[in-house]
Structures are given as structure tokens and as C-alpha cells.
């Protein structure tokens, strides 16, 4: 049923030199009159050149907010409260308006969540390409249109479609148009926020396949945000799991699949059937994600954690009172969990 992607999960990640992007202790808050919600709470993450990093978690865990914060397109009332977002060592949070404008898309581009709404419905596809190119470089309209045509062909769309309006394209085509747009200025990092969620499975596979091929040919890095962990295990080199605004586990895809250490990751893995082999009982995770305005004390996962047994034990006291920190359990494999720390 499923079309296998060309990459095998175990494929070696590119040798990490200096990261393209480093997120350091980032905190994003949504402030309303009565309360402040921390959607991203102290997240650190680095992405190496040419690396595909997956970011997974339930809806509302802050993964899209993290993507938007890196792109610096947070909408009020969301704002970066503290922390840094470094692009080749330069802090994007401190950039002035015009510096930031020049940085966007040229260095980091983004494929938005909904293909349906990310294109301006009243402009032709060509105009949306031209607008973007001419905001960054001096190029004649003719040349810009020419390049836009090449980009469309790169993602398998007839260049005559440049004259189309978004509503004249199918959902899959629109998403390809956006991908073509994201690659137009040859950025070093492309953030993809649930790029295929709204599409049907076959189209989804085709597009992912294409993303993988383009990524290998052109060597850009990808931050792929999705709730679909199974997809990431196939696509990404490295996967970060987010829960309630925090990253709870980071590991190479293969390590995560075979040796997930955090009970939440284990829960996520058991909530979808294996692609091959017999279907076992799916256990899933009981309960629902916490309210980020009043997160649970200690480990945020403890109210749902199957290993958190109430009782007068030292472990339980730590689980409800102390925030676990990420610790390396194997090369490149980090987990934030009291159980792991206690060696259980």
C-alpha cells in the first residue's frame, strides 16, 4: 500500500560541521490580559547543513510555534520572551526589521501548513514568484518569470501553470508550487510545517519523495514539523520529540525507532501500526495534553506517564517536583526523563 521512500531510515546523517541553525533556550509566550501561556519553554536544538531534522508531537505541543519562531513570523500575542535563534552564529532575534526581511527566504524559507491558504488567492502564481524574487535581488520581471518556470518544472508542474490563479490548482499542485517557491533563492534551511497533512495519502507520498530527492540534489537542511512520527522515521535523519513546550527526546531516526527511552516517545510509537509485520495491539497514550497556561509540576508528562506510580518513593517525589533535563544516553541520543536518570 505504501510507497517506500528512497531513503532508508538508517542512512547516515551528513557529518556535522558547524550547525546552520541553533536554537538556544528559546521561550515563546502567548500573553493575554489574564494569563501567559508558554507554548515553547526552554527549547534547544541544532540543525547541521544538509540534515533533515524531524520535530514531532501532539497538536498544541508548541511544534508549529517553534517553527514560526525560527522563521520569525510569530503573530501577536505570541512573542519570543527569551533565548536565541542563531543562523551561522548570528542571533536572528536581534536583527532589525530590514536585516530580518533580507534574511528571510534567502537564508531560511518555509513551507506553510495549509497549501490551501498560503497562496494569495487574487494573484497569479507567477506574480507571487516575481514578488518574492524582486524583494531580494535586482532582477527583471522577465528573468524572474523565466526562473519561476524552471522551478515549477523542477517540482513537476508545467510552466504554463504560472499564469494560473491558486484556485485553479489542485491541493497537491499548490503545495508543490510553495515548495518550488521555498527553494527559489536556494536557502540553506527549509522549515516544513505539516506540509502534507491536508493532502491524500498518494499525493502525500509523491511530494515527500520529491522533497527527499530535491534535498539530496541540492543539499539544503530541513526542519520537518509533523504530528506523524511514522513519517519522520522514514524521512528524517534525526528526530526531536516535543511535549508540552519542551523537547523530551532527540535521537537519530533509527535509534529512536528501535530504542525509544522516553515513555512519551514509546507511547507515540505504539499509537500507530508498524508498516510491516503483524498488527499488534495499539496502546496509545491515555489522557490529553496539559494546559500550557498551567503546566503540571515536575516532569510535565507525569500525569499521563505509565511509570509514574503515586507513592512515597524518591522517584515519585522527583517526578512531581523536579523538571528533568536532557541527558545523553547514547551518542547523539538525548532524553529528559527521571527514569533514565535513575537508570531504570
Amino acid at each position: 500500500m505504501t510507497v517506500a521512500l528512497s531513503t532508508l531510515p538508517g542512512e547516515a546523517a551528513p557529518v556535522a560541521e558547524r550547525p546552520v541553525l541553533e536554537v538556544e533556550e528559546l521561550v515563546v509566550e502567548y500573553a493575554s490580559r489574564s494569563r501567559t501561556t508558554r507554548a515553547v519553554d526552554g527549547v534547544s536544538l541544532a540543525i547541521a547543513p544538509g540534515e533533515i531534522v524531524g520535530l514531532a508531537g501532539e497538536s498544541g505541543c508548541g511544534k508549529s510555534t517553534l517553527g514560526n519562531a525560527i522563521m520569525q513570523v510569530l503573530r501577536p500575542p505570541a512573542r519570543i520572551a527569551s533565548g536565541r535563534v542563531l543562523f551561522h552564529g548570528e542571533d536572528l532575534v536581534r536583527l532589525s526589521g530590514e536585516q530580518l526581511r533580507r534574511h528571510r527566504w534567502r537564508n531560511v524559507s518555509m513551507v506553510f501548513q495549509s497549501a490551501m491558504n498560503a497562496l494569495n488567492p487574487v494573484l497569479r502564481v507567477s506574480d507571487q514568484f516575481v514578488d518574492m524574487m524582486r524583494s531580494h535581488e535586482r532582477v527583471s520581471k522577465r528573468d524572474a518569470v523565466g526562473r519561476a518556470g524552471e522551478l515549477l518544472e523542477l517540482v513537476g508542474i508545467d510552466r504554463r501553470r504560472l499564469r494560473a490563479y491558486p484556485h485553479e490548482l489542485s491541493g497537491g499542485m499548490r503545495q508543490r508550487v510553495i515548495i518550488a517557491m521555498a527553494l527559489a533563492l536556494e536557502p540553506e534551511l527549509v522549515i516544513m510545517d505539516e506540509p502534507t497533512t491536508a493532502l491524500d495519502v498518494v499525493v502525500q507520498r509523491e511530494i515527500l519523495q520529491q522533497v527527499r530527492e530535491l534535498q539530496r540534489a541540492r543539499g539544503f537542511a530541513v526542519l520537518f514539523v509533523t504530528h506523524d512520527l511514522s513519517l519522520l522515521l522514514e524521512l528524517a535523519h534525526r528526530v526531536a520529540i516535543m511535549y508540552a513546550g519542551e523537547i523530551v527526546e532527540v535521537a537519530p531516526a533509527a535509534a529512536l525507532r528501535d530504542d525509544a527511552r522516553h515513555p512519551y516517545t514509546a507511547g507515540l510509537l505504539s499509537s500507530f501500526p508498524p508498516l510491516t509485520g503483524p498488527v499488534e495491539r495499539l496502546s496509545g497514550i491515555p489522557g490529553s495534553p496539559p494546559d500550557l497556561a498551567a503546566p503540571p509540576s515536575g516532569c510535565r508528562f507525569h500525569p499521563r506517564c505509565p511509570h509514574c506510580v503515586p507513592g512515597d518513593t524518591a522517584l515519585h517525589r522527583r517526578q512531581v517536583a523536579e523538571r528533568p533535563v536532557l541527558r545523553e544516553v547514547a551518542p547523539g541520543h538525548l532524553v529528559a526523563c527521571h527514569l533514565v536518570e535513575e537508570g531504570l
Partner: protein, 328 residues
């Protein structure tokens, strides 16, 4: 094209309804309007125009023929633009009276309406873009307050304060007395000068509606993904505001274009009355008071045709600005 065919059919029907309403109104009313007309004509006038009574019977009823016969004659008259003689402007023909006063109104309402549209949507756009900013919290309430005032009251206050006390504007009529209307400098400058205050009042009364509409829609549009993506693409702020947010936000308010115009045309009657501005609105008021039914009837038709024309312009703009209407 199907879209246009459908719209044109609708307008044709609307014109027919307006014509028929015009025909039926005097016949539905208690009493005979033709009596009012004949009272105002002296016997010598009737004698000089032997056909005059027949014309009025066709236009207003009161003849001996069947209503269907009257209706056919009525339509026949209108096809020849024969609305009869205006009793309050005897012996001028109704069509001549309208030809004389209509240009003033078209100028007044045309300029004022376009100004309030441009100004109102621009203010609404910027207010929504910088929501909660100084502009949004000062200029917008001022326009809202102004538009809450009945137009004629704003007009009276403006005449008193800006005209009578401050002497900034002439306050009466369309041009200085003593000038003869024509294409000469003295007349045109005088006419322009006299139109300033009425235009200002119309803008004050109607821009607020556009401000509110545009602001409301634009606030929602600013939250759309394509605006976020335009930002992410590194476009300049102003370009995102105009070409991405405002360009889409303008579409829903534009659908109120015709209704707003109908409102402005109605308001014109009051404004012209306040300023004694000799346009179609003042003429309608005078004709209504003077029981000059042929003139009121013809003017109502003219007003309806103007609003229908505005509807058509709205359709054109919609097709021009929204590709989804074109193909959908």
C-alpha cells in the same frame, strides 16, 4: 460571461420593476394625483397644450381607459423620454429640467462617493494593519462618531460653523449669483468652490462605513496564511499590506458598494436641501412639496437607474479584482 448575462438579466428586470412601480404608485394611492397636477395648470396652459391631459393620464392614471391600456401608453411615452411638462417649472419639459439639474448631482455624489470610498478603505486598511496603534485608536473613533450623525445634521452644523461663523466656505447654491452656467473659468471655479462643503459633509457622513467595513475584514485577513507567508518571503511591509492583505480585504466591503451608493444617493436629497444646491435631490424635494408628480416620477426613475448602474459597476469591479468570480 454567463455571470454577466445573469446580472444583465437581473438589471433589466430591476429596471422593469422600477418602471412599473412608478406606474403603479400614483394609482395605488388614495385620491387622484392628476387632480393635483391639473390644479397647478391654468386653463390657458391646458389650452396651449391640447395633449397635456392625455400625457398625464398615461403617466399618473385618472383616464377612462383600462389600466393595461394606460400601461402600454405609459411605456410608449417613456421609450420616447416623454415625461410630460413639469408643472412647477412650466413650461419646461421634465426631461429638460432633469438635464439641467442632474450634472450637479452627478458631480457632487460622484466625487464625494469616490473620495469617501478611497479615504475610508485606506484608513480602515492602515488602522487594521497597526491595530491598537495611535492611528487606530484616534482616527477610527472620530470617523465612527461622524458617521453616527445624520448627514443633514452634520450639514447644518457645518453650514453654521464652517460657513457662517468661520467663513471658510460658501454655504448656499452651486455657484455665485450673477454667473451664467457654462464652460468658462469664472463659473467652473465658483462651482468647485461651492461644492467643497457639501462634498466634505458627504465624505464625513459616509467614509465611516467604509472605515469600519474595511478594518473588520482586514483584521481577519491579516491573520491569513498567505499574509504570514508574504512576510516570510521577505517582502517589504508596505507591499504585504497592500498587495496581500488589503487586496483581499477589499473584496467583501466592495460587495456593499451598491448599497452604500444607494444610501449616498438618498443622503443627497438632504444635503442638497441643506445647501440649497440645485441638483436632482433638491429638485425632487421641491417637486414633492409642489405636487409636481411628473417630475417626481421621472426623478425617482433616474435615481433608480443610477443605483442600478452602480450595481453594474460593482459587478465589473468584482470581476476585475477577484479571479475566483471570473472562473467560478
Amino acid at each position: 460571461m454567463r455571470f454577466f448575462a445573469r446580472r444583465l438579466a437581473f438589471y433589466a428586470f430591476a429596471v422593469w420593476v422600477a418602471l412599473t412601480l412608478n406606474f403603479l404608485l400614483p394609482r395605488l394611492m388614495p385620491g387622484s394625483p392628476i387632480g393635483g397636477v391639473l390644479q397647478r395648470l391654468s386653463p390657458s396652459q391646458i389650452q396651449a397644450n391640447p395633449g397635456i391631459i392625455k400625457t398625464y393620464q398615461a403617466l399618473l392614471g385618472g383616464g377612462s381607459g383600462s389600466i393595461w391600456h394606460d400601461y402600454v401608453v405609459y411605456l410608449h411615452r417613456l421609450a420616447h423620454l416623454d415625461f410630460g411638462v413639469s408643472t412647477s417649472n412650466y413650461p419646461s419639459h421634465v426631461s429638460a429640467v432633469i438635464g439641467r439639474v442632474l450634472p450637479y448631482s452627478i458631480f457632487l455624489v460622484g466625487v464625494a462617493f469616490i473620495l469617501s470610498f478611497v479615504l475610508g478603505t485606506a484608513i480602515g486598511m492602515v488602522a487594521a494593519w497597526r491595530r491598537g496603534g495611535g492611528f487606530d485608536s484616534v482616527i477610527v473613533p472620530v470617523f465612527m462618531a461622524l458617521s453616527a450623525f445624520p448627514a443633514f445634521f452634520t450639514g447644518l452644523v457645518a453650514v453654521y460653523v464652517l460657513g457662517l461663523k468661520l467663513h471658510w466656505f460658501p454655504i448656499q447654491h452651486a455657484y455665485d449669483s450673477g454667473l451664467v452656467p457654462g464652460f468658462n473659468w469664472a463659473f467652473l471655479t465658483s462651482a468647485l468652490r461651492h461644492s467643497e462643503l457639501p462634498i466634505l459633509v458627504i465624505v464625513a457622513a459616509y467614509a465611516g462605513g467604509w472605515v469600519l467595513n474595511m478594518r473588520t475584514v482586514m483584521i481577519n485577513t491579516v491573520g491569513e496564511d498567505y499574509v504570514a507567508m508574504a512576510h516570510a518571503k521577505g517582502l517589504r511591509d508596505r507591499r504585504v499590506m497592500t498587495r496581500y492583505a488589503a487586496r483581499n480585504a477589499i473584496l467583501p466591503p466592495l460587495n456593499g458598494f451598491a448599497a452604500q451608493f444607494a444610501g449616498a444617493v438618498g443622503g443627497l436629497v438632504f444635503i442638497e436641501y441643506v445647501f440649497s444646491y440645485p441638483g436632482a435631490g433638491l429638485t425632487l424635494q421641491q417637486a414633492a412639496l409642489g405636487n409636481d408628480y411628473p417630475l417626481t416620477q421621472a426623478l425617482l426613475l433616474v435615481f433608480a437607474l443610477c443605483v442600478i448602474a452602480a450595481n453594474f459597476v460593482m459587478d465589473l469591479l468584482n470581476v476585475l479584482l477577484d479571479p475566483r468570480v471570473r472562473t467560478g
